[in-house]
């Protein structure tokens, strides 16, 4: 018995040392680019941010812009030999055509401009499962998908809810505005399902470190039920990608709600706070739909150029030894 206990103690100690060693490893510094999957055109500002609604005749900078164009931003993150996408844009051009979008380009084509290929992508972390953020998964054959269990659970709950006013989807008469199942379209869900079936999906329960220093943080109900953020160490300090929990960078800066979907505004503000705590401010929060993206008014994204079909791309940070991929 003593020998068994002794052996167990040795194993336990060795395991503890091993875990400690992993934690103590220098965090990998990653290189980061931002790519515009498509752009929603002429969106009333108030539909995106209620507190920025256009007021005719207003002289306030907060309320004198009637419409904005909203990019759909995808993070391209290189950490050593691993290439990660945060979000994956649209897949079905039919879907985006019906939403008045323009400047769509296939992600594999955009990655080629950065001298990457679709086969190089090893991980895809989707901030949430909406149609403009979880498309094109099937175009990355070697990528493992990371999605929160809470996101999948909530979609299924919403679709099965007996009240049709609550289970309304995008194809219902009049559309679905901001009901719980809005934005989850069959072919997008099929993309996620395909990854699960091929053993290329990690169903995440809350926090998860997917590489040293690269961490998923849950942001439940900050946009959708199972939204998740991604913390990335870079030469600029830590960045936090937020998908639509961080729809607007100005909103994070000014503490306003943005792109309210299945959102609990309290949770959205707590998600903003998480970025402040992790990065030390708002400058390094990466927003999915910020209208000022790819300009010097959103400084993180100012090192930008034009890509295929008028889509935009930006180089955000380079790890030591990484050369610029800006054309």
């Amino acid at each position: 018995m003593k020998k068994v206990m002794g052996a167990l103690a040795t194993v336990t100690f060795a395991a503890a040392v091993s875990v400690g060693s992993v934690a103590a490893q220098a965090q990998t510094e990653c290189s980061v680019w931002l790519v515009e999957s498509s752009r929603f055109m002429n969106v009333p500002f108030g539909a995106f941010m209620p507190d920025r609604a256009f007021v005719p005749g207003s002289t306030s900078a907060s309320n004198n812009i009637p419409t904005v164009d909203l990019p759909v931003n995808v993070g391209v993150i290189k950490c050593g030999e691993e290439l990660i996408l945060y979000d994956s844009g649209w897949k079905q051009e039919d879907y985006l055509t019906m939403t008045g979008s323009d400047h769509w380009a296939a992600l594999p084509e955009q990655l080629q401009l950065l001298d990457f290929s679709a086969d190089d992508v090893t991980k895809i972390v989707i901030g949430h499962g909406h149609w403009d953020h979880a498309g094109q998964l099937s175009d990355f054959p070697n990528a493992v998908l990371y999605v929160q269990r809470e996101e999948l659970r909530a979609i299924e709950w919403a679709l099965n809810y007996p009240n049709p006013k609550i289970s309304a989807v995008n194809t219902d008469p009049g559309g679905c505005m901001r009901t719980p199942a809005c934005g989850y379209t069959p072919l997008t869900l099929d993309e996620i399902y395909g990854k699960v079936l091929r053993g290329q999906a990690v169903i995440v329960d809350g926090e998860m470190e997917i590489l040293p220093g690269v961490k998923i943080h849950p942001a439940f109900r900050a946009h959708t039920a199972g939204s998740q953020l991604l913390e990335v160490p870079t030469s600029l300090g830590k960045l936090v990608f937020g998908s639509d929990a961080y729809s607007s960078w100005e909103a994070i800066r000014d503490w306003m709600v943005a792109n309210v979907q299945q959102t609990d505004s309290v949770q959205q503000f707590l998600a903003y706070e998480k970025c402040y705590k992790i990065t030390g401010g708002y400058e390094n929060c990466v927003a999915a739909h910020e209208p000022l993206s790819y300009t010097d008014k959103y400084p993180l994204t100012k090192n930008a150029w034009e890509g295929p079909n008028g889509s935009r791309m930006a180089e955000i940070a380079l790890a030591a030894g990484e050369t610029s991929r800006k054309p």
Binding site: F40, Q92, D94, Y95, M98, T99, G100, R149, L152, I155, E156, L159, N160, V169, N170, T171, D172, P173, G174, G175, C176, M177, R178, C182, G183, Y184, T185, P186, L187, L189, D190, I192, Y193, G194, V196, L197, R198, A201, I203, Q261
Partner: protein, 166 residues
């Protein structure tokens, strides 16, 4: 809904006119055109079948996701998907019973193929639940995915504004 569909289709047709105002003839095969009254009635009759089919496809995907990620419960998979087989079969029967204008016969046949594919995918899924062989779920998912894309092609003709922004 019909007003929205026809209005949207008309808007798209008008947007295609050259600046001088002359009306370009629309090719018979052009999917983007205003529906005739009979075509409109057919599209309206097919719509509830289509909505149920899409929800069934979503339910099938979620049943598969739950099976793969939550305990490999084959009994639960079978219980959830058997009704979908019946739902898709009933949808085929209902669609076949519709009055179909000759001008959209080809679209109709394509849509029958969509429903048959969904039924097939559901049937394969039930077989997996009974016999094992998870790799066949990939076959079922691919069948369902292609059916979904075909459904979008049908929607181009019958319901051009099918998916609304949110």
């Amino acid at each position: 809904m019909l007003t929205v569909v026809v209005g949207y289709a008309l808007q798209r047709e008008l947007a295609r006119q050259p600046a001088g105002g002359a009306v370009e003839p629309v090719a018979a095969a052009d999917p983007v055109r205003a529906l005739s009254l009979e075509e409109e009635a057919y599209a309206a009759a097919l719509w509830p079948i289509h909505r149920e089919a899409k929800l069934g496809a979503l339910a099938m995907a979620f049943a598969g996701i739950a099976y793969k990620t939550d305990g490999h419960d084959a009994a639960r998979l079978e219980t959830e998907v058997i009704p979908l087989v019946e739902r898709f079969r009933a949808a085929v029967d209902r669609a076949q019973a519709l009055d179909v204008p000759a001008s959209v016969r080809e679209v109709h046949e394509r849509y029958l193929g969509v429903l048959a594919s969904y039924e097939h995918a559901a049937q394969v899924t039930v077989e997996v639940a009974r016999d094992g062989g998870d790799e066949r779920l990939i076959d079922a998912q691919e069948i369902s995915f292609r059916a979904g894309e075909d459904a979008l092609r049908v929607g181009d003709v019958l319901w051009p504004g099918e998916y609304k922004p949110h």
